[in-house]
């Protein structure tokens, strides 16, 4: 995966951002940016993977998200956690990505035909198979439920999910209940 650093984003910024940069300590912004990416990079990558069907699309989306985080960082006033901030941007970028690639078809299940080098009860292979089946099943969920379940699987609580998606906590609960039912059904169907 391509790495994204703060310096990658320097050229081409608008004047508003440049003005903000003058008043904010650039070094601390860069440190904050690196900290967010190193803490949440894998989660953002998994989130991007749940909205894309190819490696290059996933990488593009991760890059776009990182760029958007860097652009938004000067405006971040700490009114939510860095994780919520990063996930909110990631979700916005993912929605923008989906709207640009409306025709994109996500395979319901690209069957994994890995050969098991060491068959046995609960081998590493079968765990990987289950994880892959779960990821594919999540990718197949309708968007509203996919958003909630992905954030839940990343360890966000109702309040954080509500903040990321801009919906009420009760709505998060309702969507999550339905998302779990759909996911259970999808996983059952794949057995």
């Amino acid at each position: 995966m391509k790495s994204f650093t703060a310096t990658d984003a320097q050229p081409g910024f608008g004047s508003t951002i440049d003005l903000n940069r003058e008043t904010v300590d650039r070094k601390s912004l860069e440190e904050q940016f690196e900290r967010i990416l190193s803490a949440h990079g894998p989660a953002l990558s998994r989130l991007a993977a749940s909205y894309t069907s190819t490696v290059s699309d996933r990488d593009d989306l991760v890059q776009e998200t990182a760029f958007a985080i860097w652009q938004a960082l000067p405006h971040f006033r700490g009114d939510c956690s860095e994780r919520t901030f990063a996930f909110r941007i990631a979700h916005n970028r993912a929605i923008a990505h989906l709207s640009r690639n409306r025709e994109q078809k996500i395979d319901p299940l690209e069957e994994v035909e890995l050969r098991d080098p060491a068959p046995g009860p609960e081998s590493d292979f079968s765990r990987r198979q289950r994880a892959e089946t779960l990821r594919t099943a999540v990718r197949g969920l309708p968007l509203a439920y996919r958003q909630v379940i992905v954030l839940t699987l990343e360890g966000l609580g109702y309040r954080e999910i509500a903040a990321v998606l801009g919906i009420s906590e009760s709505n998060v609960g309702a969507r999550l209940t339905r998302a779990r039912q759909l996911l259970q059904d999808a996983l059952e169907n794949r057995k």
């Binding site: 995966m1 894998p42 989660a43 990558s45 998994r46 993977a49 190819t54 490696v55 996933r58 690209e110 069957e111 994994v112 035909e113 890995l114 080098p117 060491a118 590493d124 292979f125 765990r127 990987r128 289950r130 994880a131 892959e132 779960l134 990821r135 594919t136 999540v138 839940t152 699987l153 990343e154 360890g155 779990r180 996911l183 259970q184």
Partner: protein, 193 residues
């Protein structure tokens, strides 16, 4: 399984994705590009050899030349069947995780090693057919083995090309074997297989 246990189990599985080593990712992308270029090269060879031999047969109206065209298409068909069989499921990883990338690289390596054997056998078959055809058509009086070894500069060039081809094949096979061993080691290191 109660609801919370199920969710926790899903969470573990969801977050279990091992990160893809950058060099492995680059390697897979480079191989994908090479596979596309090879496919284009195979298509060009098919058009040139198949089309050329067919045109030659049609223009000459000689049954012997028609035999060459038929043989050329048989060899080409065998090559394409092999390519499609081996390349099946080698175009992209089955998932976006380290396991799938390593698995794809391992399968590509195994495919390349099979291709070495196939290329060797196909080359021998083609050379055997071509030399037999030339020998029969030349209507020579000398014995075939004497013609093969000392017949002409043309047969000497064929032998030199054969030697060079097999040296390259052995070199490529060793390279791919080393790569396969490295990948299997990497798989063990990353995934604990």
């Amino acid at each position: 399984m109660n609801a919370d246990t199920e969710l926790e189990s899903w969470r573990e599985e969801w977050q279990s994705e091992a990160s893809i080593p950058a060099d492995l990712h680059r390697n897979v992308e480079r191989q994908s590009l090479q596979m596309r270029l090879l496919l284009i090269a195979d298509t060009v060879v098919t058009i040139v050899i198949g089309g050329g031999s067919t045109a030659w047969a049609l223009l000459s109206k000689d049954p012997g030349v028609a035999l060459v065209a038929v043989a050329a298409w048989i060899f080409l068909a065998a090559a394409w069947i092999f390519v499609f069989t081996v390349n099946r499921r080698l175009w992209r990883p089955s998932a976006i995780d380290a396991a799938a990338f390593i698995d794809l690289s391992v399968r590509r390596c195994e495919g390349a090693l099979k291709a070495v054997w196939f290329a060797g056998i196909l080359f021998v078959a083609e050379i055997a057919f071509d030399l037999s055809w030339i020998y029969v058509r030349s209507n020579l009086q000398q014995s075939w083995w004497r013609w093969l070894l000392f017949g002409s500069l043309r047969t000497d060039i064929v032998w030199i090309c054969t030697v060079v081809f097999f040296i390259l094949l052995v070199w490529y096979r060793r390279r791919k074997s080393r790569e396969l061993a490295r990948l299997l080691g990497l798989r063990e290191e990353i995934l604990g297989d």
